[in-house]
């Protein structure tokens, strides 16, 4: 298999240095890398899963609005970034692995390489400020 573009490689190397959860996807939304803090959210280890197709990792999260209603995928930052290549930010709730509701904020941005070529996207999960 061919190597990833260096913009993707450098994003992974940066994610490796950060203490915040970072998810990196390809153009289609397949999860191609997540760092150690992200492993805690996902409940899985990158070493074990490797890359994950969009169908299998997208269903792990159960995003909810403040009333506990499921959020449609189209309202999530990463999904929007993958659709139109713009950055987004939003706070919402997810159900933790222990079944507890946690408020998080997600920032997503597109990886636009040289010549503005869209190569993939990054989602950063933050613990919500008012939590």
């Amino acid at each position: 298999m061919p190597a990833y573009e260096i913009e993707i490689i450098l994003n992974r190397q940066l994610a490796d240095c950060l203490s915040i959860p970072v998810f990196i996807t390809d153009r289609k939304g397949n999860l191609i890398y997540y760092n150690e803090p992200a492993e805690e959210i996902l409940g899985r280890r990158y070493e074990d899963t490797g890359e994950m197709p969009v169908e299998s990792w997208a269903t792990i999260f159960k995003p909810l609005d403040e009333d506990g209603n499921p959020l449609p995928p189209d309202g999530l930052p990463l999904v929007k970034t993958l659709k139109d290549c713009y950055p987004y930010h939003r706070s919402f709730w997810i159900e933790s692995l222990k079944g507890k509701k946690e408020k998080i904020s997600v920032t997503s941005y597109p990886i636009l390489g040289r010549n503005s070529k869209f190569l993939g996207a990054v989602a950063i999960f933050w613990q919500s400020k008012d939590e």
Binding site: M1, A3, E5, I6, L10
Partner: protein, 279 residues
């Protein structure tokens, strides 16, 4: 395909008896086949180039990996640029902000150089490339962006069934984990895969690299690891640090050989080397 190494020093030209063996000129290599000539980078080594030798065309193609000074400083002293009969093609990495012409003219214009690039008498054509495939005469060439500060590419040059890969400035180990084991996550690996000859950055000792991480260069050990992952047949280690004398370089190589069990051939690139493919 004939490869002539014309400059292997990194950063700045270096002179003196202590660098006589490996040479003090900055990056340049010459590739010739079937009357066509490629010049890889325009460091001060370009002055050593026997540009008319083996040339049957009135055309020379200069392939720049990037525009740091040690890779372009010889351009203004390359005589075919001043010959109206010559057709010179310069290929270089595209940038998100400025054209190749704009970036080259920062050097090839006053006050840094007396002649404007637009006043060069040769027929000059500039080509912006990135992750590209193109052909020049009998050569099939692939370029790809690699990790080094600023837009930088490496080149994979194919002639008949032989491959020469040229990546003189490269830091594939950038990051907390060094070079990752999964080759899909290694910058430049596709360019080097199964090359007959790979010329690669190997500026530092591991100790030097640890304090110069992010400067865009590799340790000798990382160069050997990269070449091993790419399964090359022969590695030429280049971009020698200007502070490294011949004696220091020999000592560094000896230490690498003691640490490494690589099964392929590797050595330090030296000015004046000539390599024929097939041998």
């Amino acid at each position: 395909m004939k490869i002539n190494i014309r400059g292997v020093r990194g950063s700045i030209p270096t002179s003196g008896p202590e660098v006589k063996h490996y040479g003090g000129n900055t990056s340049c290599a010459e590739v010739t086949a079937e009357g066509w000539k490629l010049v890889l980078d325009g460091g001060s080594g370009i002055r050593n180039l026997k540009w008319a030798e083996g040339l049957e065309q009135k055309r020379i193609d200069i392939l720049l990996t990037h525009l740091h000074m040690d890779h372009i400083q010889g351009l203004g002293f390359f005589s075919p640029l001043f010959d109206p009969a010559m057709e010179i093609h310069i290929w270089g990495p595209s940038s998100s902000t400025h054209t190749l012409h704009e970036r080259l003219s920062l050097y090839l214009s006053p006050p840094l150089f007396p002649v404007h690039i637009r006043d060069l008498p040769c027929k000059l054509k500039l080509h912006e490339i990135g992750n590209s495939k193109f052909e020049i005469g009998p050569f099939k060439i692939r370029s790809g962006y690699i990790i080094h500060p600023g837009p930088t590419v490496g080149y994979r040059i194919n002639h008949d069934s032989f491959v020469f890969t040229y990546i003189p400035d490269h830091e594939p180990a950038l990051g907390v984990s060094g070079i990752l084991k999964d080759r899909r996550w290694v910058s430049g690996i596709d360019l080097a895969t199964e090359a007959d000859v790979l010329l690669h950055d190997a500026q530092y000792s591991p100790e030097e690299y640890s304090i110069k991480t992010g400067w865009g260069h590799s340790s000798m050990d990382d160069a050997v690891l990269f070449a091993s992952m790419a399964e090359v047949k022969r590695l030429l280690m280049a971009h020698h640090d200007p502070a490294h004398s011949d004696e220091i370089l020999d000592h560094m190589l000896l230490e690498v050989k003691e640490r490494s069990n690589a099964s392929f051939s590797y050595e330090l690139a030296a000015e004046g080397m000539e390599i024929l493919l097939p041998a």
